[in-house]
């Protein structure tokens, strides 16, 4: 699928600087692993939504999770910051190591985990507060002691939103456009200085221009953060990620990993027939 990797062509009438070329990926041995999943299964009551996943998430890389609807991408993603703990029937099997520590170990507080592993949702969900208070929310609840104004500005800058909102920080976050709201949510997430940012189809509710802005932002952010993104958009996975995990589901509707590899490899020369069929649009 070489066309997917072609340099991005801005849509007509849209002027956006081209992305820097995808950084060459390091060989596996030199990668620093942030999250290591081993034999992870996700259960909703007696229904197994995800089966036996063993993958490593490399530091300061963008890892894309792709696969057909209902194969468990969201479930797997929310397992990584213990968001699914909020669902009473939910249970995780297997091991997830985060920075060498067992993520689901006995002494681990999900509240502490979620500050270190932030999340951006499918539908932008700013709080009904001012832009400033949206970004300051996380630092405030986490006992931030430094200069809040500075942190807010810095977070908005890194989310590529500062120039658009610097004169209206007191305005409501909900008055922004969809793409701006999503960047506000990203600013809000990085304001608590997480190590990992999970994104669940962050562009599915956005127009193409905002989508490109978010992709550029991800390329910027991965210098400091590890990013795991769920996406339905093959071009997005191809353009914006370094590693791609392809999941699908079997007869029992449980999702499983078909193939994990460097994105270039997955999109040019996949090992599995299923992967090739999926990325070329023959199913899913």
């Amino acid at each position: 699928m070489p066309s997917l990797l072609a340099p991005r062509q801005p849509a007509i009438g849209v002027t956006i600087a081209p992305l820097p070329p995808i950084t060459p990926t390091l060989p596996v041995a030199e990668r620093e692993t942030v999250l290591r999943m081993h034999g992870v299964s996700c259960w909703y009551g007696s229904f197994r939504a995800v089966k036996d996943v063993s993958i490593d998430i490399g530091a300061r890389e963008v890892t894309a999770l792709i696969g057909p609807s209902g194969c468990g991408k969201t479930t797997l993603l929310r397992t990584l910051n213990r968001m699914n703990d909020l669902i009473p029937s939910y249970r995780t099997d297997g091991h997830i190591q985060f920075g060498g520590q067992d993520l689901y170990g006995p002494g681990v507080d999900p509240v502490a985990v979620r500050r270190r592993i932030g999340m951006v949702f499918q539908k932008p969900n700013p709080f009904p507060k001012s832009i400033y208070d949206n970004v300051a929310f996380g630092p405030r609840i986490n006992g931030f002691k430094g200069n809040l104004d500075e942190l807010v500005e810095q977070s908005l800058r890194r989310a590529a939103l500062w120039n658009e909102v610097k004169d209206k920080l007191k305005q409501h976050g909900m008055a922004l456009s969809g793409g701006q709201q999503q960047r506000l949510c990203i600013a809000r997430t990085i304001a608590v200085e997480p190590e990992v940012i999970l994104m669940d189809e962050p562009c599915s509710a956005l127009d193409p221009r905002s989508t490109l802005q978010i992709e550029e932002l991800m390329a910027e952010l991965k210098r400091d953060y590890t990013i795991v993104i769920v996406t339905h958009n093959m071009q997005q996975a191809a353009r914006a990620s370094d590693r791609t995990v392809f999941l699908t589901m079997g007869e029992d509707r449980a999702g499983y990993v078909v193939e994990v590899d460097d994105t270039v490899k997955i999109f040019t020369n996949p090992r599995e027939r299923l992967t090739e069929d999926y990325i070329s649009g023959r199913f899913g």
């Binding site: 910051n81 968001m83 909020l86 009473p88 509240v111 502490a112 979620r114 500050r115 270190r116 932030g118 999340m119 949702f121 539908k123 969900n125 700013p126 709080f127 009904p128 507060k129 929310f137 996380g138 405030r140 609840i141 986490n142 409501h172 909900m174 008055a175 949510c185 809000r188 997430t189 608590v192």
Partner: protein, 300 residues
């Protein structure tokens, strides 16, 4: 499956749109709705007309600032007005923290167990208990057992209990109307459950909560039956203080004057109703303003 025959190839589906008839059905329904509204409005207008024509001539500063008297032309409603406002404020101050706390527990903390479901259902049922029953309970518990006597505070506690189910239900509705994406957004930043509730959910639910409480307070101010049981007096010439015996409220003053045989007393009863109506209108207006101000930017 096997008995259903497939549609004949080439047979065109047949419709009988009958648009005129469908539209007629719609028009008839609209007519029925408007008739219902018209009937209600008529009743309301007649009531208001009656009260205003009878009561308005009696309303002046002396009526508002005066105390009850055996002579209707000298009677005023200040003790009852002050009693109503005083008790209304106490009812709000008592039912707000208790009701909101209970609703937060039920909506944001309580697990979905059988016990909690039964609890929730029963709160709705409590809203349907006749108010006089609360009066009897208030008399036994607050006036007698707790020895608060026939005081405004005993009446306020009774009324607070009476409107508690409404406050709890309104608050629960308001909390439920805040989408889960707001809760997840707070959790994803490392909020504890209380931080999530306090800083994300409560501000977003505030318009609904405040509206519910103000309207419940208006209901409490209009109640007469439970307060009569708790021991409101009908002839009070001094301004009531919360912990002292002897007080009255507007609905009781109305009831008392309206049951006199003389026409002039009926006139001042109507005037007192007008004062009560204005108090209600003020509270309802306040509810609308609060709602509009607080929810200006809420859009999910």
């Amino acid at each position: 499956m096997s008995t259903a025959s497939p549609p004949a190839v080439g047979a065109r589906p047949r419709f009988e749109p009958q648009i005129a008839r469908r539209k007629l059905a719609g028009t008839s329904f609209l007519g029925a709705c408007m008739a219902a509204i018209g009937l209600l409005l008529l009743a309301l207008v007649l009531l208001l007309y009656d009260v205003i024509t009878k009561g308005l001539p009696y309303i002046d500063l002396d009526f508002i600032t005066g105390t009850p008297s055996r002579r209707p032309e000298q009677a005023g409603i200040l003790p009852a007005l002050v009693g109503s406002i005083e008790i209304g404020l106490m009812v709000g101050a008592i039912s707000f923290p208790l009701g909101v706390a209970a609703a937060i527990y039920l909506e944001e903390y309580a697990a979905n167990t059988l016990f909690n479901r039964i609890l929730r259902t029963n709160i709705s049922n409590l809203a349907g208990v006749p108010s006089i029953v609360y009066g009897i309970f208030g008399l036994a518990l607050f006036a007698r057992a707790l020895q608060l006597g026939r005081s405004p505070i005993a009446a306020a506690l009774t009324l607070a209990l009476l409107i508690m189910p409404v406050v709890i239900i309104a608050t629960m509705e308001a909390l439920r109307s805040v989408p889960d994406s707001q809760r997840e957004g707070a959790y994803a930043l490392g909020a504890t459950r209380w931080q999530m509730v306090r800083r994300s959910i409560l501000p977003a639910a505030a318009p609904g909560i405040m509206t519910g409480i103000i309207l419940a307070m208006a209901r409490a101010i209009g109640e007469a039956a439970p307060i009569i049981v708790v021991g409101a007096a009908s002839f009070v010439t001094f301004l009531p203080t919360p912990f002292q015996e002897g007080f009255t409220v507007l609905p009781i003053q109305v009831y008392q004057w309206a049951s006199r045989p003389q026409d002039a007393f009926h006139g001042i009863a109507a005037a007192a109703i007008l004062v009560l109506l204005v108090l209600m209108l003020l509270l309802n207006g306040l509810a609308i303003i609060v709602r509009a101000r607080l929810s200006r930017h809420l859009q999910w």
